[in-house]
Symmetry: D3
């Protein structure tokens, strides 16, 4: 949509439940935006200190130590991807939906003024923190648009939202509606994944997934493409309709 709009640096806001989510699920989108010179802000509601740090707990580490490990790793990964990460430290497992936490997200919306928002799908029978994060991310986006909502900053527009792929898509009602070609930044995404040492068992898993979504992308791509032999992809759903000037 470009009816006379002045060129401004695009801003992407990623809202996640845990410290690693933005890497596995949206690292390609983040790296692509960053590689185009755009600003990307990641709001991590928790460090994933209880629910996604099993190995550290088994090694006998303490809560504060684990939070510090997850924070350090996530910051390193964000740096590789070219993004800024903000931690809300709201406590995970369970992450609770509250008006206060939703309000903190409204402030981040009004501060970062995103052109694009990424978050979790609204259903996940394996991890209740993910739907909780999604609900607050979507509610806060609506509140941030209201001139009557009492928060610092100017009201925002209605940025499109993309729901990234959960760990077990078929169990979460996830259907790929958008396949993003992340081939040009694949090495960057892989490098970011390797910063997450506490979840090393997922490196190959998400490399495989990237390759499979790439195959699906090729199968669904229009004709006359000069796609390289190996293509990497990420899948997304749209909770709101796409607005476009061209069908393609």
């Amino acid at each position: 949509m470009t009816h006379g709009k002045a060129p401004t640096a695009r801003s992407t806001l990623v809202i996640t439940a845990h410290a690693g989510d933005f890497v596995w699920r949206a690292g390609g989108a983040v790296a692509l935006a960053s590689s185009r010179g755009e600003k990307v802000t990641i709001a991590c509601l928790t460090y994933g200190e209880r629910g996604e740090s099993a190995r550290a707990w088994r090694e006998g580490r303490k809560l504060a130590e684990i939070k510090e490990m997850r924070r350090t790793e996530a910051e390193a990964a964000a740096q590789v991807l070219g993004a800024e990460v903000r931690f809300l430290d709201a406590g995970d497992y369970p992450l609770s939906v509250t008006p206060e936490l939703t309000d903190r997200l409204v402030r981040i919306y009004r501060d970062t003024r995103p052109d694009v928002v990424l978050t979790h799908p609204r259903d996940d029978p394996y991890n209740g923190d993910h739907p909780a994060a999604a609900r607050m991310a979507l509610d806060a986006r609506v509140l941030a648009q209201a001139v009557g909502y009492p928060s610092d900053g100017e009201v925002i527009g209605a940025p499109p939202v993309f729901l990234f792929e959960p760990h077990q898509p078929e169990m979460c009602g996830f259907r790929p509606e958008v396949l993003l070609d992340i081939t040009p930044v694949w090495d960057t995404k892989r490098a970011a994944m390797e910063r997450l040492a506490t979840q090393q068992h997922l490196w190959e898993y998400y490399t495989d997934l990237g390759r499979r979504r790439g195959v699906q992308l090729r199968r669904n791509a229009g004709p006359n493409l000069g796609l390289p032999h190996t293509t990497y992809g990420e899948a997304y759903m749209r909770p709101y309709p796409q607005v476009t000037e061209v069908l393609a």
Copy 2:
């Protein structure tokens, strides 16, 4: 998707059950593509001679005469929109799904080699011809991709498909997934509608719908848009995932 592809004129294929469908439901998309210098081909499976020509029947006209009226009107509307229309004259009310008719569509796919395909949604409790057309359009697209399918012409790629809006969207499971900004070609779409004299009662109805989808488009559009005060839109669904290089 632009990995080194050679610039070629884009081709759009619209497959409809009846002679008027391409105007009411996709006239904006057709006019936009045409205004960009692209080729648009409309495959009308029937003239809508029985199911959508009630006034003519009440005036006592005969079948051949009605088909001729609908054909003349549709050709005039297509000319306004800048598209070519082909009539398959398969007989409406009911339109039956057959391998022979599907095969005729395969030939049209291989002949027109579309970059984009538009057709009806797969469900409509008010008009069984629409789902029948959709099913043949989608089946033929898959068959046309197979090197083993015995038909003239080269196999095609996997062009994206857009399902246009039915007359009663809520009753057909239709949810707007893509909102196309047709403001720049609105006058052209309106002029094409006015070529369909036998369905004059629909002119205002679809003008209203265009305006409402335009309002929804503004509500869902990203921030910082310089959209004009009155925006016109058309709504579409995607049966296959979108393939993209940028989330927007």
Copy 3:
């Protein structure tokens, strides 16, 4: 809807796959309409001679004999309920969807001019004949409305449709949307069931069901009701919206 309409005798059309369906699934609705002096016509597409006459086959009876038995029983049940039954003898197990059979139903629509239509739900994994009957019943209703459809008789309006309850509702996506109070005609429905000697094992089953739907009816009924202690009910779905002058 009574804006100045002239009083005419209401007509109900019931379209079923097999000879017994109208008794088990809609016998109460038929008896109620009949008791109000209305006309009820039952179009049985088949006798259920292959798929629902297991005992007769096990007893060594022949096809023609079984069809005769089922016809005689169904006519007796229809007489008890006060309805006329017409057999199309299209052959069951499987009942196939064809344009010819659909056309025969169009003629019956134009002949009986129903104010209300009853038929099967559109899904049933235990008996493919039921969805086939539903599809032809719904398609024929739309065709009979079209002035351009070549069949005897005048075009009809858009009578409301009610889908009656299948044998295994949860497996067919059936959700009670309308609960009909059949208490005043319960004895008539039971008497009609007892005319179906070849399916005696179902008498108690459908008596239980009538009682359970009656309990649910009481639970959902508005306040201040003077309902009798034992209430009998039948459940229906609506594929089209209800049109009304009062919400109740």
Copy 4:
């Protein structure tokens, strides 16, 4: 359902999130009931002071002033429709689901003893206050039926519930299940809409919608109707089965 019930004045309870909802979405139903001499009570959970008063905020008005404006307008509209309105002033954007607010609704149920309940649908991705209101309205109805629930007043029966149409029906899973003919009170509904000066931009929008639902009503209405040329309608869903003595 009239088995021997004594004639009493019917009572309708409308539960909405914001001050304007009962006019746009159910003004016809309210005016119809009132015109039949029935009692209608509207429970507004909030004034819509933050989420639906954008113009007033942009004009620099204060919270208390905006609430007063919305209250005055809503009372004027309710008077036109012939209904009583009660404000719970629970605070909007966000409206939170709490046991205390639900309990206040239980008291209103037991006080007004409704024969019919109207509220929002259970899903709305554009406004989280609407599903919150719906959830409390439906929960309170169940609690008010329980003799063991500690609240003033007698337990109520199980009044039928109608969910009125949201602003963007396709995005909220809304499918018209009931079309109410509001032609006789259309002028009253339009007059009530015109009392809502702060939302003047919606007057034409909801006039158009009334006309479109009227067209759909005619298309779905049974035969032999003497409907006037222009018909106005409102659409509703039923979360519970309809209980009836006649299929129509």
Copy 5:
């Protein structure tokens, strides 16, 4: 799944909203497990003192008395079935979802270490306590698996979950996915039902249901079965995939 596992006594955990639920909905499963020498623990979140004790309230009894009655009955029924019952006394109508109550369930999971979990389906428009219980039961199961969750006891595995049948299955999206043959323990289940004197009106209702699920079980059972003439069944859904070594 028997890859070298040491034989240990299996443990079943049943989590219900009210004191009677485990008898009506899962009494057969409980009795079967108990008859095999397995341990069954029932966690009743409330006594059902407000929402499911209408007769006692009408007889003028007090809250404490009703809770005592329900407790005594439930303990007697559990004894018949061979199970232990634990009451959390969290208060019903409404039962609220809270982190504190969820945490109490986590402790019970880690204490009982279940091989199988039974609870309510996630939707019920007639009783909000049931979905609230289901949500806490499912959330607590996930939390109890996390080594980082701070609660006594060892982390548990991922026991399969079965959702038992609600009172009005079609209205709750309930589809039988598992039919359990409870014929061998039917008399025990009936005896347990008869311990619930305050809900005597349900004895025959659930006897009928057991018989109907038994008929459906026979209809879906594989060939070559030597099933007795009268079979009793209970229906369940699986929210997670079944894990198996053989398809049967």
Copy 6:
């Protein structure tokens, strides 16, 4: 279900659209059954000669030659798995649903008398042959149960049906409901895959899938399992309820 049944060799029937489907999608189930000494029959409706033999067509081979290649490969794979394969040679791309072909499947049901049936899911937007095969497989199973259906052989019982995993599960509404542990026969499945030389590009793809379903199986498996480090799995859906004597 073992109420006194005499031990007989179990029989499995696999009905597929194309020659390779039984290997990729159900090779583990076939090999497991065979390894237990059971009989497995595969009914291939077509050779997949047009739709799934792209490389052969590009190499310039003729129809008869391609069918012969596919047949030879499939027979070799079936031999590795220990199954018998029958080819119906009905012609693919498109495979049409006909009463004649359905009748041929009825004969195979009555001849093989399966205890378990495996086939495709009912929806697949990428390949219309798969839903066509599924529909005929499910219809024929119902017809084969009817004593009145005129075909050789005795009527069959109601064997459970498992729908195997499609190539793009999220696009076909596929949700894993059953995870089969195929670790003990993984080498056999891999060997069978390697017999399908014309589809060599799928070997690694389905090896990866087997590993991923194995990971999911471990995550969903009950506690106390002695599962090996690497587990392989296959996913299935159940269109009919499971019948069981124990919840596990």
